[in-house]
Amino acid sequence: MGNHALSYGAQLARTQVIAAYPITPQTEVVGFLSELCADGKLDARFIKVESEHSAMAAAIGASAVGARTFTATSAQGLALMHEMLHWAVGARLPVILGNINRAMGPPWTIWTDQNDSLSQRDTGLIQYYCESNQEVLDTVIQAYKVSEREEVLLPAMIVLDAFVLSHTSEVVDMPDQELVDKYLPPRKATYRVDPKEPHSFGNLTTPDRYFELRYKIERSMRRAEGLIKEAGEEFGRMFGRHYGLIENHHVEDAETIVVASATVAGTARTVIDDLREKGEKYGLVRVRVLRPFPFDEIRQVLSEAKKVIVIDRNISFGHTGIFFQEVKAAMYNQPRRPPIFGYIAGLGGRDVTPATIMEIIDDAKSKDKPTEDIHWIGLKP
């Protein structure tokens, strides 16, 4: 299941300190990692913290001294960590966080949507949205490689859908540990808490310096864009599975492109394939990396389309779906910018089926331009 894939990723990456607090549907991660540590299959200290806020704080502390650290959470837990996500970014620490996309309460829910991870959008974490358990496992390893680069030094969040991925079993290839070690050597932290070379970190910073420190973070985000691609390509060469910032499917002569993420993209792919068989010119762009936003690649692929559909399994209340906003904003100043339709689907784990996707496609087909900013699919009035 996805939770195990996430755990195996952390194991293969030889994470050294884990600090995590259980929350449905992440609990198999903490349980499995505890077992791996207890059985000596993972040489790591697992701090059984008493809350998610402490989980991230402890992960940050361990990372600050140079250890490779990992945590995992979901929804309310991620929300509770929020302050410390900012901290990990500002402290420039490559903590890797697995987040099981679960809808926010109240009311209580355990099923999937993206509001929890997207509420962290502006913190500065690199964000990877995974479509399969294989990708989850592979991405943990790549994420460490990218985040630990001195040009990056930013934490990253690996997102997988609650139940659809976390609790669904898929066949996953386990990379060879020796090969992973070659791909991902031990962490070499240049800036660390070290009594042999004492520094103090995070001191009060006045307006005449804070601005530049933030600029550095943004520059690192932009450098991460290229490094994520590089890491994905090298992964492809060594392990046979190639990854990038986005994944294009049947886009070459596509007239309408559907933009989606995570498992919704997987469902959309089958619909696109069916439509292609019927000769209809549809394509799919799966956004894998949301932060840093892949401006160039998105602009390049969408500029050629006549219509763009963005499916969001999230909502920014008072505005629109978040992937939709981001894609629209990226295209705004482009010389060729097709009309972009935004749809909200699947919140709180409501199923997004091929029929749902077709409903979206048909709606967009019936209009030349969007007639509304936002359209809720599958709503029961």
Partner: protein, 302 residues
């Protein structure tokens, strides 16, 4: 001339503390006991500012400044991280004010104590949120003035018994110190340094600025707090074995301690009598708990 505490300074002059700051004295003494092979996690508190702005620091040991609630959780992580990179020697110390310990940081501290994570937690207690401009904390004494406990809306609850709370976690070592007794503090910090497990040290550190008293009174008040029995000096081993550090056979009336402080200026005669009664009660209670205890030799009920 023979010095009663180590000579080495690991804190430099030029820091931003107020004149007569008890928190800096506490830090100075702690560092003398800990030595250079030490790392600190420091949450939001006066020391976040005393340390100086980026790109400077005031200590010759590394500090990881961390969020308000996280002194203990960051320290847990720091300790685990150091162990995993092969360093079992460095002292890991969480250094926090009363706010970050008694209030917003208590969850993380309780968690770390329950796990018996191997680090030392030192709380310097100036009895209010001083860094943000003197607001009440749960360490603020009964009816003490702060900006959020003005005369007409006083704090009617007593100072939180943090030592009792930490002892209840049955951690190996818990102790109280006062900046007026640096030899005692250095001895206790050195002792704690050698113990494996979670250690908690509560340091009474007057804040002349927040207590509305002249800077020169800092040590005097820290001494009076002990000599009036208001702030007893003692250790608790394994949560159950008490060892009183200073007996105080002839206590000074608590009024002597309250008089120089502007934050107590509004107290009535009856208030002062009540405070004296509380001091006497708490002292007797402490003595009873300490009776028959084996102190360091006690097995902690195991």
């Amino acid at each position: 001339m023979k010095l009663t505490i180590p000579e080495q300074e690991l804190m430099v002059s030029g820091h931003l503390a107020c004149q007569g700051c008890g928190a800096t004295l506490a830090m100075r003494y702690a560092l003398k006991a800990l030595g250079p092979n030490t790392v600190y996690s420091i949450p939001a508190c006066c020391w976040s500012v005393i340390d100086g702005p980026f790109p400077y620091s005031t200590l010759k040991v590394p500090i990881f400044h961390t969020a308000f609630e996280t002194a203990a959780s960051a320290a847990s992580g720091i300790k685990a991280g150091l162990e995993m990179i092969g360093n079992d020697e460095t002292n890991v110390v969480a250094w926090a004010g009363d706010g970050g310990t008694f209030d917003i940081g208590i969850q993380a501290l309780s968690g770390a104590a329950e796990r018996n994570d191997n680090f030392m937690y030192i709380c310097y207690d100036n009895e209010a949120y001083m860094n943000t401009g003197i607001q009440r904390s749960s360490a603020t004494p009964w009816r003490s003035w702060t900006t959020t406990t003005p005369e007409k809306h006083p704090k009617e609850t007593p100072k939180k018994d943090m030592i009792g709370i930490m002892a209840a976690h049955r951690i190996p070592y818990v102790a109280t110190c006062s900046v007026a007794y640096p030899e005692d503090m250095v001895k206790k910090v050195k002792k704690a340094k050698e113990i494996k497990g979670c250690k908690f040290i509560h340091v009474f550190a007057p804040c002349p600025t927040g207590w509305r008293t002249a800077p020169e009174n800092c040590i005097k008040l820290a001494r009076l707090a002990v000599k009036t029995r208001l702030f007893p000096l003692y250790e608790i081993f394994n949560g159950v074995d008490y060892k009183i550090s200073m007996k105080v056979p002839k206590p000074v009336p608590v009024e002597e301690y309250l008089k120089p402080q502007g934050r107590f200026r509004h107290l009535t005669e009856e208030d002062v009598k009540q405070i004296q009664r509380n001091v006497d009660y708490e002292w007797d209670r402490l003595m009873k708990m300490a009776e028959g205890c084996e102190g360091e030799e006690g097995g902690g009920g195991k």
